[in-house]
């Protein structure tokens, strides 16, 4: 009940943001050079025909009226039609989004599962040459990983593991050519393979996921490790942890205290990465011809696919905002102060 009230208060801030995003997207898309009616008509239709299309698309109306139509259509779930794929944009996006989300979420889960415990353990390491070396390496990784361009690292790994060693399947798409993809239920390849019991597809998709997931987890895990280490160190210095220590609490419990206090900053940072990757994953996607949301975005820009650009931008912005609400919920659950006082 309280959570609901808390979220409602946050929503009040989100709605103007969404309206602003809609307005700006609309205006900038109108600035894209080229005539959408002409593009849709193709070169065979004469000027009168183009004019007809223009009228049907509402492009002859004044700008504010167009905006009104546009907002009305959004509320009816109509984001327009892509002239490249010929499908409604919403359909296109919903088809591709799970593919990208699967990649991002897997990568983030992998790096969180490895980096957060590592970062917290590192603050507890005792002396000894080996421990010092590990800590140095972790610090180096935390500072340097984010400097690697992910698309470049992906190419290098393809060269090493596919071209030279031949350990991974060919980096094109999510399945081997010989494998029948699973029947589409959720759009998440792993989930669909599991649900339909298509073990060949599962094996294939997993082997295709190894490299892209590793690349994303490696590059963005550096930041997660750094945030975890910095906040764990800060918490460790605080008086209540010193108190717990002199009270003789076992180290395991103290580590648990510390990890709890680290979650909010790690969650925020992860959300920022997630938001960035909604668009940014396109780089890795295009290296592996993954065919997800990001590649759709780039295609639409390269082809001046107006409706698609508009839809992609709006969708990703809303997804981004939803992520922040999600972080708020995590905050709410992790931090008893918000729960009880907010």
């Amino acid at each position: 009940m309280k959570l609901w009230r808390y979220l409602r208060r946050r929503m009040i801030f989100i709605i103007p943001q969404i309206l602003g995003v809609t307005l700006i997207t609309f205006l900038i898309v109108r600035m894209i050079p080229g005539d959408p009616a002409r593009i849709i008509a193709g070169s065979l239709v004469n000027e009168a025909g183009v004019e007809l299309i223009r009228e049907r698309m509402g492009l002859t109306e004044p700008l504010p009226v167009q905006l009104l139509y546009y907002v009305r259509n959004i509320f009816q779930g109509d984001l327009g039609r892509s002239w490249v794929t010929g499908n409604p944009v919403l359909e296109d996006i919903l088809l591709r989004l799970p593919t990208t989300l699967e990649l991002i979420i897997l990568a983030l889960i992998v790096s969180l599962a490895i980096m957060v415990p590592l970062g917290i353990r590192a603050t507890f390491s005792k002396g000894g040459a080996l421990n010092r070396l590990t800590n140095k390496l972790l610090t180096l990784y935390g500072m340097a990983a984010g400097a690697f361009p992910d698309f470049w690292l992906a190419l290098i790994l393809i060269f090493v593991f596919y071209v030279v060693l031949g350990w991974v399947p060919s980096p094109i798409g999510a399945f081997d050519i010989a494998v029948v993809p699973p029947h589409r239920l959720t759009g998440f390849y792993i989930v669909d393979s599991l649900l339909t019991g298509n073990w060949d597809a599962l094996k294939s998709v997993c082997s295709h996921l190894i490299l892209p997931v590793f690349v994303l987890a490696f590059v963005y895990g550096g930041g997660i490790l750094k945030v975890a280490m910095v906040s764990a160190n800060e918490v460790k210095k605080s008086d209540y942890i010193s108190y717990a220590t002199i009270c003789g609490l076992p180290e395991k419990d103290i580590q648990r205290y510390i990890s709890k206090a680290c979650y909010p900053s790690v969650a925020t940072f992860t959300a920022v990465i997630f938001g960035f990757l909604i668009g940014g994953a396109v780089l890795v996607e295009s290296v592996f011809s993954w065919g997800g949301f990001g590649q759709y975005a780039v295609q639409s820009v390269v082809n001046s696919d107006f409706a698609a650009i508009q839809g992609v931008v709006l969708f990703s912005a809303i997804l981004n905002l939803v992520t922040y609400i999600f972080v708020d919920i995590i905050y709410y659950m992790v931090d008893p102060r918000i729960k009880n006082l907010g």
Partner: protein
């Protein structure tokens, strides 16, 4: 001690810090070299960075072509070095624009935060606009702007500035909010300063240092954005030497075994970004008076 000028004090702190932090020292050297390369790079390269030699395409690294040649027969070493200027100019100018627009707006937003009247409304409006800009995922915003205005270097600069204004602004704003409670601000008001003069003469100089420390991080991020957009064909295009488009043109040959067209530009790009992030770290430490005291006392004893 006080007879030394402040710049001398800072120099010695920098040296002290770099001596005890090899990684940061390495990053410092790399970023200095990067900046030098951006200035003189195009003049010292052995081959033309924009002209291909027919029949000499995809040669592996050799004595003549240190990093080999690409599909167009262009010297990869020359292009990699010449690309310093392209990428750095875009990133640096974009980052500076973000600083020069974001910081003053952030000061206004912070100093007048929660106040009534004209400037209070301005402060609120600035925040709301930033909320909207930040709602866009950065890369998607970049794509949108490039789609609308075309993939020229100027538009990439504009895109980097827009994407980074909110971050700069919020940092300056939070500094201003904590500074405006200080007594020296009240003193400035008591001697008759106008509110705007207080904001820019008294708050700004005190709030600007962390924003400047952020600059080098924004520059690194700007290089990543520029290269990323160029990589997918929405940024700088061949034959202009640029790391992202070079990596892209080498991407297709990677599968057939020619690794060098992508490998070298990416390596140099990673080094540069690493260098700038270390530079940011160094500045952050050195502008903290407590860290400075720690540094000098730690070495004197």
């Amino acid at each position: 001690m006080f007879s030394a000028t402040t710049s001398q004090i800072r120099d010695s702190h920098l040296v002290l810090y770099l001596k005890s932090h090899p990684l940061q020292a390495f990053g410092f050297a790399v970023s200095i070299i990067s900046i030098v390369m951006a200035i003189i790079g195009p003049y010292i390269v052995p081959h033309s960075p924009t002209l291909g030699v027919p029949g000499k395409h995809l040669l592996p690294p050799s004595h003549e072509y240190w990093f080999g040649t690409d599909v167009n027969g262009m010297c990869i070493f020359s292009r990699t070095i010449a690309a310093y200027r392209t990428d750095l100019v875009i990133a640096v100018v974009g980052a500076l624009m973000a600083l020069f627009i974001g910081a003053p707006l952030g000061i206004i937003a912070g100093y007048f935060d929660g106040k009534s009247g004209f400037w209070g409304s301005v402060s609120l409006a600035i925040l709301r606009i930033m909320d909207v800009i930040q709602a866009f995922p950065v890369f998607v915003l970049g794509l949108l702007l490039v789609a609308a205005f075309g993939p020229s270097p100027q538009n990439l600069i504009f895109m980097i500035a827009v994407a980074n204004i909110p971050g700069n602004l919020r940092l300056a704003r939070s500094e201003a909010i904590s500074l405006r409670e200080k007594d020296f601000v009240e003193s400035a008001r008591a001697v008759g300063n106008s509110e705007l003069r207080i904001a820019f003469h008294h708050i700004l100089p005190n709030a600007i240092t962390p924003v400047i420390a952020l600059l080098s991080v924004v520059m690194g991020f700007g290089i990543l954005l520029t290269a990323g957009l160029s990589f997918v064909g929405a940024g700088v295009r061949v034959p202009t030497p640029e790391w992202g488009s070079m990596i892209a043109s080498g991407g297709t040959t990677m599968i057939t075994g020619q690794w060098w067209p992508s490998f070298f530009p990416g390596l140099f790009m990673a080094l540069t970004i690493f260098g700038f992030s270390m530079l940011g770290e160094i500045i952050t430490v050195l502008i903290d008076p407590l860290e400075r005291i720690k540094l000098s006392s730690g070495s004197d004893t």
